[in-house]
Symmetry: C2
């Protein structure tokens, strides 16, 4: 049987839209997604799950109601569930997310940033 | 409140033993672990879970009963549950694993390679 690895940078070359996560792998009931971000996202929280951010290229920030974290290439961060947060980045930043199947990118805040779910790249 | 990112390379500098996964983050009931490998691991399978390998540095291979996959820096692979596999690497390779809390590195094969669980770095 033929097995092949998933190349993260090759997957990133396949799309250019921002704030629109694309699935690249499934483990149990979790998805690994790539997303490109630039500018400011909206405040939201995920009531059912923690959310993992792994920065592949660039630098991003996550603002909380009581603080801020800067995450750069080669770094990761886990946003605890039920924690209001807002992601932003001055320049384009490429991120890998890990979250349960069906997680909505805007969590409890459905608006123009809410992306179509279940898109693979 | 003070928030800080987890720097993967800084964590890798904190240990040198091989085949001994160290936890760096927890998301829901999953652990993100770093492991250094060199040489040959044993055949085993995980009956309860898929297993994610993300290569941070170097190159590794996973042999299956019916094939083989090569995974290099910047690539990832999901080993499906119940799938017998054997990891190996000619040179030291640094990997991030994602698996449920309590997953034993040797799966159903307890032997000299079985690492102590729940070690954080």
């Amino acid at each position: 049987m033929h097995y092949s690895a998933i190349n993260i940078n090759e997957k990133l070359k396949k799309f250019s839209d921002v704030w629109s996560p694309k699935i690249i792998a499934k483990m149990n009931n979790y998805h690994f997604k790539l997303v490109k971000i630039k500018g400011d996202f909206i405040w939201h929280k995920h009531n059912e799950t923690d959310e993992v951010f792994i920065v592949i290229e660039g630098e991003m920030k996550i603002e909380f109601k009581d603080g801020l974290v800067k995450i750069k290439k080669g770094e990761m961060f886990v946003v605890p569930k039920c924690t209001e947060h807002r992601t932003f980045s001055d320049h384009e930043c490429n991120i890998m997310l890990v979250e349960p199947v069906g997680t909505i990118n805007t969590g409890d805040a459905i608006n123009g940033f809410t992306a179509v779910d279940n898109v693979w790249v």
